[in-house]
């Protein structure tokens, strides 16, 4: 048990280090240097350049800067934002909660809606309507879904505020926008899983024992259908991380998506690196959760 945990932690640390290093190399390889990024479209003279280089210690070799960065990151010091002139820890720290709220709300909404859809729309035409709607939602850009939801529920009927992270009302529309595509994909996967499970011999046995179709579905088939859906959790983390960038922009919400967009656009290396490491950490956590979920869902795996 302890070795298993240790192995998890070690592999997680390696993933974080690899992500940070890959991001560092990518930023290094990108055209233009940090001084260019800090200058932006403003005045550009040798005097200005030398001051910027001196301020951020950019005259050291890249490898020294990289090792220095790793050493400090390991001690929890993520550096200062070139652009925002504040410690990266503060920048990320104050934006993490709104993003987590949004991500969790969207994930819960998406999963619950997918379960409801997969279980309740089993019959011919309902199934076809639901399946078509899911496909349409999945292929619609989240940006557009957000604008349409805003136009109807906020601008037209005034049910929810347009922007900000202020109370639950402000979370509803962004969470639905981010959760709908998740529900669309998961519902499709779950429905397929249910179809397959209901054809298995155990389903026939259960029916033979006199169980009602609904009980066969919920108590027996669903457990089997969940396995492929859980595999999609890794994909889910990608959708959430990519989705918040757009959702936060549309809804004027604070959060990591906004910070990331600004940092990438301005070549703000310390912030970009911190966000990459954070995203990698989230990915590791979610995948660990998925592995645990397998054990929970399938008792056969617990024995081995």
């Amino acid at each position: 048990m302890i070795t298993a945990i240790a192995r998890r932690v070690a592999s997680g640390a390696i993933v974080l280090w690899a992500a940070a290093t890959a991001a560092y190399l990518a930023l290094l390889a990108a055209p233009g240097d940090i001084v260019d990024a800090i200058i932006g479209d403003g005045a550009d003279t040798p005097q200005i350049r030398s001051q910027i280089i001196a301020e951020w210690n950019l005259d050291r070799p890249a490898i020294v800067q990289y090792l220095d960065y790793l050493l400090r990151a390991a001690q929890g010091d993520l550096g200062r934002s070139y652009l925002l002139q504040r410690p990266v820890r503060d920048v990320i720290g104050e934006q993490i909660l709104p993003t987590l709220k949004l991500a969790v709300a969207a994930a819960v909404f998406g999963v619950v809606l997918a379960l409801i859809l997969a279980v309740t729309t089993r019959h011919r035409w309902v199934r076809r309507v639901s399946s078509t709607a899911e496909l349409i939602i999945v292929s619609t850009p989240p940006f557009l879904i957000g604008i349409v939801l805003l136009s109807v529920f906020s601008f037209r009927f005034g049910l929810f505020p347009v922007s900000g992270d202020r109370g639950w009302a402000g979370l509803v529309l962004p969470a639905i926008t981010l959760g709908l595509p998740i529900a669309g994909v998961l519902a499709q996967v779950l429905r397929d899983g249910l179809d397959r499970a209901l054809d298995e011999p155990f389903a026939v046995t259960a029916r033979a024992r006199g169980l009602r179709e609904r009980a066969v579905l919920v108590r027996h088939a669903l457990r089997h259908a969940l396995m492929p859906a859980v595999t999609l959790l890794g994909w889910l983390s990608g959708v959430l991380i990519g989705g918040v960038v757009i959702i936060e922009q549309v809804f004027g919400r604070p959060g990591l998506g906004q910070v990331t967009l600004q940092a990438v656009g301005n070549g703000d290396m310390p912030v970009v690196l911190a966000v990459v490491v954070f995203a990698a950490a989230a990915f590791v956590l979610i995948n660990t959760a998925a592995d645990l979920a397998y054990l929970l869902i399938d008792p056969r795996l617990r024995r081995s």
Binding site: A30, F155, V162, G252, V259
Partner: protein
């Protein structure tokens, strides 16, 4: 910030559908007309497009952040509407005969919101802060390059000693970078360069809450009683509090306004203007910005723009009027000079003297030897296509300038067979292309309040943003005269010659449009205005909300 454009039409349609119910009749009303007499009290919510990178006025670099700066901070001078200056935190100033010493008398009744008294020592502390390594190298290298030292003569008198005469000092002392921050904040703030609630100013509002990515909140400064003469009223501001919410999507800002969730929005794109003007509960105002017009600067360092005839031909090949109408639906103001039309130095005699003459463009190119055509219809010379490259840095593209570039591209191809190659790239790639001289067209507009400051950067042979490759001692001399003289007539004469040289004689620049700001508001909001000279939305000092 980049927007996702294909969706714009759908969004506009959705908004039209959802607002159709309440839109009837026409507006034509000006803000304030229906808001009645000014009343004190109330809280206002204002949605803005741009979240400032910093709240420290000394670090100011975004014209879109200017309206926030003046709520909290103030400068020694302010601009009047005719290119001159009015006293603000000063009561008057004198210039020595040699133009090298500017002595200011200061107000003695002013305090910062943290209780610190405003005096000559505070002014010196603010300017000296720029000498700190890495604090703001750009201001040190540009605005303060002629400053020798600041002298505290007595608590109410401060003198600026210059190395050489520089009238742009007055522009600096009326700019956000010249704004006065409490010396106590300068010393104690943890994140000085980022600014925020920990920086105290003397302004009519106090910044008390900033939620990054969401909003910034100001409350009224009850002690305020030192507004400049052109501020509209005296004493404290009308509003109790004001919240600026950051809404980056223009369609979302418009929707928030039409649904009454905010009372004022800044940044209304041309595509959404009809939604505002069709609604009787809303009004729209537009202000032309100061500084340089949005222009294409032609790189004379190498072929083909080293040939005057090709530069002239490029300009003649574009029907600017038609291009602007196509992209901005008549909401853009055409520019004829590198200087914006609201500047006192603008030379209106340049209007209608060039551009849009296709026959002339083709004749000039024939004369320059670009006579052959290739399979795609582009002109060639010695087997080389007549290609010119425009590199745009995506993070800085605004006002649909990428779309405008495509329209110009189509125009020069159709009318003269010129291949304008437009590349929309990241900041690093753009900087590299500029550094390597891998471009023929450079696009830029600057929001400097004194157009001379913009021209120094863009046209002087030592200018920090000189991308034309032109090094002309006569031009440099004219620019230096414009900067040194305190005599407005002499400055005007110098800058008119500059404009004639770069626009008429050298055909160095293709001016396109005068950048503008739009503010839309509910008709219950009064006192909204644009800052004199700068032409950007003003602070909230004079704004009121009718009950």
């Amino acid at each position: 910030m980049r927007r996702i454009r294909p969706a714009a039409a759908v969004i506009a349609l959705t908004l039209i559908l959802t607002t159709a119910a309440c839109s009837s009749g026409s507006s034509g009303s000006t803000a304030g007309a229906e808001a009645g007499q000014p009343v004190s009290g109330g809280s206002l919510t204002w949605a803005v497009e741009t979240e400032p990178i910093t709240f420290n006025p000394h670090q100011y670099a975004q014209a879109k952040a200017r309206l926030l700066v003046w709520n909290t901070f103030e400068a020694l001078l302010t601009h009047d509407s005719r290119g001159g200056h009015l006293p603000w935190l000063s009561t008057g100033h004198e210039v020595s005969a040699d133009g090298k010493i500017y002595t200011f008398k200061l107000r003695t009744d002013v305090s910062f919101s943290d209780g610190t008294k405003f005096d000559a020592a505070a002014v010196k502390a603010n300017v000296d802060q720029f000498l700190v390594e890495g604090y703001n190298p750009t201001v040190l290298a540009v605005q303060l390059r002629n400053l020798d030292r600041v002298e505290v003569v007595d608590p109410a008198t401060v003198a600026f000693h210059l190395k050489q005469p520089d009238v742009l000092l007055l522009d600096f002392l009326s700019s956000p970078q010249g704004a006065q921050v409490s010396p106590k904040s300068l010393k104690e703030a943890k994140n000085l360069k980022a600014g925020g609630p920990e920086l105290a100013g003397t302004g009519p509002f106090i910044l008390d809450r900033y939620t990054a990515g969401q909003e910034v909140h100001f409350t009224r400064n009850p002690a305020y009683n030192w507004a400049p003469a052109n501020a509209g009223h005296t004493g404290p501001a009308y509003l109790d509090e004001i919240t600026y919410r950051f809404l980056k999507e223009s369609s979302v800002r418009v929707g928030a306004l039409t649904s009454g969730q905010v009372q004022v929005i800044e940044g209304v794109p041309a595509t959404d203007e009809a939604l505002i003007t069709a609604n009787r509960q809303l009004s729209l105002q537009r202000g032309l910005n100061s500084g340089s017009a949005y222009s294409y600067y032609l790189n004379t360092a190498h072929a083909p723009f080293d040939d005057l005839r090709v530069r002239q031909a490029f300009r003649e090949a574009v029907d600017v009027e038609a291009v602007l109408t196509g992209v901005y639906r008549g909401s853009a103001t055409r520019a004829w000079s590198v200087i914006g039309p609201t500047s006192p130095f603008y030379d209106s005699t340049l209007e209608k003297t060039y551009s849009g003459d296709t026959a002339k463009a083709n004749r000039l190119l024939d004369e320059a030897g670009w006579t052959a055509r290739d399979a795609e219809g582009f002109r060639t010379k010695d087997g080389k296509r007549l290609t010119v490259r425009l590199v745009q840095s995506a993070p800085f593209v605004r006002d649909r300038r990428d779309v405008l570039a495509q329209a110009v591209q189509a125009a020069v191809k159709q009318s003269a067979g010129i291949d304008l190659n437009v590349a929309l790239v990241d900041q690093g790639t753009a900087t590299k292309a500029l550094a390597d001289g891998e471009y023929e067209v450079f696009d830029n507009s600057r929001a400097d309040t004194d157009a001379g400051a913009a021209l120094n950067l863009l046209l002087h042979s030592g200018g920090a943003i000189n991308r034309t490759g032109l090094k002309d001692p006569a031009l440099d001399k004219l620019l230096e005269e414009g900067q040194a003289s305190g005599d407005q007539a002499k400055r005007l004469a110098a800058y008119q010659q500059v404009q004639k040289l770069v626009i008429t004689d050298q055909a160095l620049i293709l001016p396109l449009y005068a950048p503008a700001d739009q503010v839309a508001s509910a008709t219950t909001v009064g006192g909204l205005s644009f800052e004199p000279t700068a032409g950007v939305p003003g602070s909230a000092y004079n704004v009121w909300l009718s009950k």
